[in-house]
Amino acid sequence: MRIVTKRNGLIALLILAFSFPYIAQNDYYLHMLTLSFIWAIAVYGINLLSGYTGYLSLAHAGFFAIGAYSLGLLTVKAEMNFWLALAGACVITCVIGLLIGLIALRTKEHFFAIYTLCVGYIIYLVIDKWEGLTEGVRGLIGIPAPGSIGPITFDTAASQYYLVLLFLLAVIVIMYRIIHSLTGRTYIAIRNSEDLARTIGISTMKNKLTAFVLSTFFAGLAGALYASFIRFIGPDIGSTAIMFDLLMYLLVGGIGTLSGPLVGTLLLVILSQNLQFLQKYRMLIFGPLLTLIIIFYPRGLAGAAFEWQRKRRDKKLSMVRADMHMKAEEG
């Protein structure tokens, strides 16, 4: 009976995640972890589209911002209930995502990347310039914290941490179910060869569109959570800088892997918090890191770990085989 199994590891991680507020008595760490969970949800969205379906989207910071601003506007200006506004923000992001996806997905490869980069920039410019709605560069202030559900309130750092953690877990479970279903296999087939996928009767456009809308949904959800957690948003959250940050989390963790987004986001957020003095110049390290990772470990840390595991297993197998071979010769 082995103790170090995948299942036990996951249970240990879950226990650690749930007991973290009691272990860390410091609100600062809790805040940082909550924030990185929020980013991780957005990164899962990008991963579904870029990692599994093979379409590099550079517009997701824009969808993140749409989610954040929808929640902000619905709660501040329309004075809606938080939970209604959260659902509303997700719906708004999905509808905009659907409309953009319908057009964007007609393009492929480089064109898609450039197209989405421009879409992201347009979203940013619109938020920045449309002062009547979004308050422009002044930003949106006074977004309420998540409202209470019956007796459960979300005023403390720990309660918000649990809320975001639950959303993150839900997202991971959804991702797991998608990837291990026929739908997920379909996405991977499209990534590997779209022409081949179409030949075997997959409706590529329909599948790409659902992947796109789902990924914008995750980005929008993350944005809405971000808005209610930070309680102040400015147009900067839709900028390309954020997009590249998210992309880096994904790449370092491992694009096209289930654990990658979480690993990458946690690692890089914690790293950059500890390298505060580098804040302005952190790209001096992270930029080359991104390039090196894509050259040498194209599937990031998670991919490298799989590779290492596989090699070890192969080695063991070949040793066992050699052993049997020797015994057979002796006998």
């Binding site: 870029s50 093979g54 590099l56 057009i103 007609r106 393009t107 492929k108 490869e109 480089h110 064109f111 990347a113 450039i114 197209y115 980069l117 421009c118 879409v119 920039y121 347009i122 410019l125 310039k129 390309t240 590249f244 992309l247 880096m248 790449l251 694009i255 302005k280 110049y281 952190r282 790209m283 001096l284 992270f286 930029g287 080359p288 890191l289 991104l290 390039t291 894509i294 050259i295 194209p298």
Partner: protein, 287 residues
Amino acid sequence: MDILIQQLFNGLTIGSVYSLVALGLTLVYGILHIPNFAHGALYMLGGYITLSMMTLYGVNYWLAMFVSIIAVGLLGVLLERFVFRLLRDAPPLHDKIAAIGILLFLEAFAQFVWGADFHTMNSPYGQVVQVMGLTFTLQRLLIIVAAIVVMVLLYLFLKKTYTGSTIIAMSQNREGASLVGININKVAMLTFMISGGLAAIASSLASPINLVFPGMGHLVILKAFVIIILGGMGSIPGAIVGGYILGFSESLGATYVSNDYKDIIAFILLVVILTVKPTGLFAKGER
């Protein structure tokens, strides 16, 4: 009427700069099929190198520009040799991400070395000239003339010299070029060198009428992408024509539509083009 002519002249100036940047981008795309997101950072670096040569060493404008062309060109060669060559057989996603990594690094680097401030570049051609009711600085005229000279030189190089035709050959068919004995690695490095040099020329010319700062390449590179999609990815005449079209539409849009939203014109143009024709205008066959 005067405003119209003035704006057309301004459009010509901006268009010249866009064309030069787009040319570098399209050359690299034509040969290696890499959308080089780092091209804007090369543009930015070119501006900074020219500026520091002029302010720190008191070098003459043209000499400073020459140093900048060589420096950025060599940087381009390094990028090809140590990044993009290693990724030649990788999925297309990887080039793009590597280019983004380089972009992030170069921007942080510029901020580290020169700070985040805005700098002005004083060119020796700041005089104001008035010709037939048109008012402009000599620098703007210089941009237009220099851009045309560079384009003609590039054309002659590509069409009339042996080395130039190897670039054309490789953009037409990589395997074919390698079969007839063209050294693909050399051509790729040369192309990156030219591309970097063009970016340096463009920014050295444009900096005196704009400003030099770490983010100066952002909008330019995005617009250059719009231009090469407009003109057909990898097409050289397309990049030139597309550059001027965008230049004109922006300067006219700024006057007659809205100055606030003039930067959005390019992106709306792109969204419309790709909506109607997903593989870009003038796409060469179905891929």
